[in-house]
Structure formats: structure tokens, C-alpha cells
Symmetry: C2
Subunit: 288 residues, 2 copies
Amino acid sequence: MGLSAKAVEAVLEGVLPRPHGLHARLHEAMRYATFAGGKRLRPFLVEHSARLFGVDPAGALRAAAAIEVLHTYSLVHDDLPCMDDDDLRRGRPTTHIAFDEATAVLAGDALLTIAFEILSHAATHPSAEVRVQLIARLAEAAGHDGMIGGQMIDMQAPRNTFGADEIMLLQRLKTGRLFEFSCEAGAILGQAPQDDRERMRNYAHDMGLVFQITDDLLDVTSTAEKTGKAVGKDQHQGKATLVSIYGVEGARAEAEKLARRAADGLASYGAAAAELRALPLFLLDRDN
Amino acid sequence: MGLSAKAVEAVLEGVLPRPHGLHARLHEAMRYATFAGGKRLRPFLVEHSARLFGVDPAGALRAAAAIEVLHTYSLVHDDLPCMDDDDLRRGRPTTHIAFDEATAVLAGDALLTIAFEILSHAATHPSAEVRVQLIARLAEAAGHDGMIGGQMIDMQAPRNTFGADEIMLLQRLKTGRLFEFSCEAGAILGQAPQDDRERMRNYAHDMGLVFQITDDLLDVTSTAEKTGKAVGKDQHQGKATLVSIYGVEGARAEAEKLARRAADGLASYGAAAAELRALPLFLLDRDN
């Protein structure tokens, strides 16, 4: 994973603007938010799914970078005072604390916009048809009935008593859809048939829930020192999570079941899928 | 103009989600912001530039809708308390007042995202190459070195003493680039040669400055009743504008010069360009 992660950083470095002009502050904030020591989980998914379908790694890295900057924008906006009001992320001041709220709103907007710009360039894939498919699917995954819709539901969660179905929907939209797109992107770049695309989405769906459940478990069981962000926050805000509904043991059992199903679903790809298949099991053991 | 404006409303009605699900509030805010009685100036530019190049009107209307929802997102975010802090737009409460700040941030994000989704669909143009060009140019025009860059500069303007060059750059980025794209979009849809594209951009550049100068003049000389928004705000905030630099008479003379140049630049298109050529002169006389 080490080499691949370095390649993603290099592509991000290349696609993001260097600070220049009277609006250099905007470029600085875009970079501050992006180069914050994230796990780069979505780029990992794009790259490794791309390997299953014989995709040019340079194009896959650009798609990975596009998804990562889009993910970064969502964190910048989610952290805003009017949203989750978080001062700390990955152990550092959030963008609106390090800069100011207006700059954070604009940097988020610019990261969202540049994601589509990155995908639109021929360097991502020689076929315009493939690029436009990536763009259409990303816009859906990240849009009003995807990630943003999920965040809207999440903003209302403290005022509601959500059951398991609503929580699952919330997570499916808020984080799941972008995971799904990350895995499907490899298949789109490889112009793979629909059943490959569906298999990648199913894997991502299960893996995404494992990610979310383990995240919720960490919120309950870990410390701020380990996770680099405030913990116990959902509980404190009275937000329902799968952990508050199923309990720590029940949620962990569900995550283990989903992790196995995710790994099994990619068995037909053989050794090339080894790292993708290992990921959900790895997530079960994470401590940050 | 009447028929065309109705057609744009119908397309916007069709592309925006109807409120549904647990996140219906998001869809409601997207619609509230979009159906606010705007002038639809950018759709007008797309449609009329498309006519010069024999473009299918249905595709042009979709491109027009994409640009309009993108413009709408920029207004929603610009009005936020951490930005321009406006409570009133077009005589109605702004989106964060009518809903709340979090919903306004998310509705803006969703409008920006759906703009790219609209352009990505085959209904906009049968050629994926053309669609991906529209997407690339829109992302540039609206992005970190375009509209968002301009807004970043504008946020710093009250704390600076800008001269005419800086103000021109600010306006070029903040409003000019999207006007330029609106006019170029017709040429892109019509797969017109580069010199047509450049001619449309030049027209838009001059027309955009006329729009901005007359807007600044209204801020000084009009009443809130007529414009439907707070006036005298730039002056009050000590923001430099072309009017504060050149004076009311000087700015008006400059706008007249630009309006003539804009109209002259499209003379070679003959009668088909009549409405585009009339627009800058019409803007000189506007009172809202």
C-alpha cells in the first residue's frame, strides 16, 4: 500500500493549484484540507478495483484524486460551525479554524468543482464516453440523493429517534454511495460489463457499512488521542447509530458478518483482489 | 424573451428533484433558491448564443439550466452569514433565513453538483466529447481560478484598498467567467470553430462588465424597493467598486463604451444576434 499511497499524494500535489494571485488564500485552504494525513481509503479502492479490470494506473490515480478531493470538500463543509461544529480533525485544527469560515466554505466549493475538472480531462481516460460516465456517476453518488442527502438526514438525526432502517439509509447515502462509486470507478475505467460493476458496488456497500460501524464503535470505545478527533460525540448529541441500536457486541457481530460477505463477493477475481478482500477484515481491527 | 424564459423554468422544474424521503428539506431548499424570480440572464445568453450556431434548442435549454443552478448555488453560499450575510434577495428571505444555515450550505453544494450531472446526460448533446468539453469549461469558469477565486478576493476587498485593475480582475473572475462560459456554451454545443468561441467570450467579457458596473451604479443610486435587496451596502462596507474609483459619471461612460464594443463584436452574425447585441444597451437602462 505504501507505494500506491505516495503515488496518490503526488497526483493530488499535481492537480491542486499552487497558491497564486490575490486569491492565494483559497488555494492554501484547499491544500491544507487535502494534505491532512487522511487514510486515503477511497483512492485505495479506486486503484485496487482498477487493477481487476486492466486499467492504466495513471488514469486510475486521477480518478482516485478526484474522489479524494470531493471527499475532502465534504469533510470541510461537515466540520463547519453550522454543521457538525468540529474544531479538530486528524489531530489538527479544521479548515475553518485554521483559516476562517468563509474561506472554508469557498475551499470546499472549489474542491468539489475541481473533482469534476480532473475527471473531464483526457489524461483520466482517452474515451470521452468513459469520462462522462465517471462524471455522471460521481455527481449522482455525491449529490442530493447521495452523499449530500445523507448529510441532510444526519443533520436532522439528533432531533429524531431513528431506527436501524433509517440509520442504514443515512449511512448508505452519507458515506456508502461514495465508497460504491470508488469501487465502480475501476470497472467504468476498464469498460467492464454491468455485472462486474454491480459486484464492485455490492462489495463497497458491505465494506462501507463495516467502515461505518467500526467508526461508531471507535466513537464509543476509543480515545481522542488515538483517533485524532473528538470522541463520544454522537452519544453526547443523542445521535442514534447502529451501535446505540444493536449495542457494542451486536454491532461488532454485524460488522463481522458484512466483512465476510464483502470478501466472499470478490472471490472470483482471485489473487488480484487480495488487498480489496483483506480490507474489511482489516477495518474490523482498526483503532483510528 | 417571454417564451424562452418559460422554457427555462420548465427545464429547471424537470431537472431539480421533487421533495422526497427523509432529506426532502434539502430538495425544498434547492427549489426555493432556484425558483426565486431571478432574471435568468445566463440562460438567456446560452440560448441566444446557441441560436447563432444551429444548436438543438432542447440541449441548449439543459445547458442553460445547468449554468443557472450553478449560479444559484453561488448566490446561496454568498448570502451566508460568514460571507456577505444577506437576509434578503429578490425581495425574499435568503435560503439560510427561510431554512437554516446547514440546509443552505448543503442546498448550495447539491445545486453545484447537479449542474455537472445535468451536463453529463446524453439529452444535453449526443456527443460525449461535447458534453465533457462543457463540463471542463464550466468547472474552470466556476472554480478556484474562476468564480470562487473571485469571491475569495471579494471577501478580502473590505480590508484592502483595491485599484481599478484589482476590481476588474475580481469582477472578471466573480461574475465574468460564468458569463463567458454561458456565451461560449452555445458555440461548444454547435461545435463551432475556436474564433467563434473567442468572439463569444469577448462579447461576454464586455457585457459582463456592463452588468457589473450598472449593478454597482444601482447600489449607489437606487432604492431597496426597486432592486429587492439591500442597497448602499458596498459603500457602507467601504468596498471599492468601479463606481467608487471612477465616480458615477465616469463609470457610466465606461459602461456605455463597453456596451457599444460588445454589440459591435457580434455584427458579423447579422439578425440572429439582434437580441444579444441589444442586451448590453438594455442593461444600461435597467433599474433592478
